[in-house]
């Protein structure tokens, strides 16, 4: 089933000394349970694309469908995670996790129990009365993910969600988040500038050209592994093949 469908999407920015075409004719489909990564040179409009899908920014033309329903404005079907975990320091972990439900007026028994079950499943329940500054970077990121997941979004958007972490934490968090997303069968669209990260997590990698961003190519990623994780697929020969292909594709555009 198509969870997200983008058709002929374009975005033009207006500013005082003219207009800039940021995205041009983007067509993309994300299927149920799929993990899609978007990579592209910096400034190609990949974060803009996510902001438009969420509804934080307006589009100039084109259509976005979530499960065949046309989207307008900020959608409650979409979960969005930013670069920083954005936990509220004055709230406990428990109260941070329930923040999304509270804002959306969805704080009922069923959803609270679901949030608690996620906290238990991902080893955070013991920390529920602690404050964010008492947790490690990786745990904070997991809390932020659960905050988004307990509102039961149809699709999760990750906007460079791990780039604020140091390298070791980042590998660990990628592993954690990937496992959670696969276990909960979450459809995900991730923007990143890190080619390895894109390959290691995705079923499909979308390559954007530099501004105006258009889709250059979509690569299907497949590893012959029984239990694929971001870490173990890095060790396969396929991984470096994919890396070289994508590197070249991005590299040509850089010049």
């Amino acid at each position: 089933m198509e969870v997200l469908k983008i058709r002929k999407l374009s975005k033009k920015y207006q500013h005082e000394n003219g207009e800039t075409l940021a995205l041009d004719n983007i067509n993309l489909v994300v299927e149920q349970g799929e993990f899609v990564s978007i990579i592209g040179p910096s400034g190609c409009g990949k974060s803009t694309l996510l902001s438009i899908i969420t509804g934080l920014e307006s589009k100039t033309s084109g259509d976005i469908f979530i499960e065949n329903k046309k989207m307008n404005g900020i959608s409650s079907e979409i979960g969005y995670m930013l670069q920083k975990d954005c936990l509220l320091e004055w709230r406990t972990i428990y109260s941070n996790v329930l923040f999304g439900l509270e804002i959306k007026h969805m704080k009922n028994r069923e959803n609270i129990l679901y949030a608690e079950s996620l906290l238990k499943k991902y080893d955070l329940y013991d920390f529920k009365d602690k404050y964010p500054n008492q947790l490690s970077g990786g745990m904070r990121q997991r809390v932020a993910l659960i905050r988004t997941l307990c509102t039961k979004p149809k699709i999760l958007l990750l906007d460079e969600a791990f780039s604020a972490l140091d390298y070791q934490t980042r590998i660990k968090v990628t592993e954690d988040i990937y496992n959670i997303l696969k276990k909960e069968n979450i459809t995900t669209l991730m923007v990143t500038h890190d080619i390895s990260e894109a390959i290691s997590m995705a079923d499909k990698v979308v390559v954007l050209t530099k501004r105006p961003g258009t889709i250059k190519k979509i690569h299907k990623i497949h590893f012959d592994l029984e239990n694929r994780t971001p870490l173990n697929c890095r060790e396969t020969p396929n991984f470096s093949e994919y890396f070289n292909i994508l590197w070249k594709e991005l590299g040509v555009d850089e010049r």
């Binding site: 969420t54 934080l56 900020i74 959608s75 409650s76 979409i78 979960g79 969005y80 930013l82 670069q83 920083k84 954005c86 509220l88 004055w90 923040f99 999304g100 509270e102 804002i103 959306k104 509102t151």
Partner: protein
């Protein structure tokens, strides 16, 4: 507990008591020096008084109505402080809510802030009469604009990512205000309260200069003229 930990905790304790003892010591030295200089006639007692004479005045506050004057001043300060803070907070919220209004009013706020409010004294008396009201208006005039500017500055500098995070959950503006902006600015409020109580007192004292029948300033004044 390890020896290292004990040493660490002891050091913290020593540092804390050192700070406290030094603070008390500075006070004692200051008062002692004041008393000594006044006693020896190096500074003029008529102008600066001296600690021992101040204690004497406080000791028989019944005969000189000191308590009553303190009560008036404290009351005026508290009322001015409360009105200034609440009004300032409300106006700051309005300006945060509408960026356009904030931009329109910005130059006027800067001008009002630099205006010496004491100069408005006579006008205030004409408008609200020469009484407690005028003094409270003066206290509010002095503290209000600073409160607005301080709180608005804090509000506008709230972490943009936190606001964006709330927006991704489709938060309404009122939710962003109550659940992100206000709790994120706790230290701004505390700071603003600290500054305000001082400014309100400045306002009350300068108000009492102009129009008072009671209060610490007039007491001060009467006391001197009775010399």
């Amino acid at each position: 507990m390890s020896d290292e930990r004990k040493k660490y905790l002891r050091n913290i304790k020593i540092k804390k008591s050192l700070i406290f003892v030094s603070q008390i010591l500075i006070l004692i030295v200051f008062l002692g020096l004041w008393e000594y200089l006044a006693d020896k006639g190096i500074i003029d007692k008529f102008i600066t008084s001296s600690p021992s004479r101040i204690i004497k005045v406080f000791a028989n506050f019944n005969s000189n109505h000191l308590l009553e004057h303190i009560r008036v001043t404290v009351y005026e300060t508290l009322v001015g402080f409360t009105i200034g803070t609440i009004l300032g907070l409300i106006i700051a919220i309005l300006l945060w809510w509408s960026e356009t209004i904030a931009k329109i009013l910005d130059p006027y706020l800067v001008i009002l802030n630099s205006l010496p409010k004491v100069a408005l004294g006579p006008i205030i008396i004409v408008w609200v009469g020469a009484g407690t009201k005028a003094i409270i208006v003066m206290a509010v005039a002095i503290s209000l604009i600073v409160t607005i500017l301080d709180i608005l500055h804090g509000f506008l500098n709230t972490d943009k990512d936190l606001i964006k995070m709330a927006e991704t959950f489709n938060a309404k503006k009122i939710q962003i205000l109550t659940k992100i902006v206000i709790p994120a600015n706790k230290s701004t409020f505390i700071n603003s309260l600290k500054i305000n109580i001082g400014l309100s007192l400045v306002g009350v004292i300068s108000g009492e200069f102009l129009v008072s029948k009671a209060g610490l300033r007039i007491f001060n004044y009467l006391w001197r003229s009775n010399f």
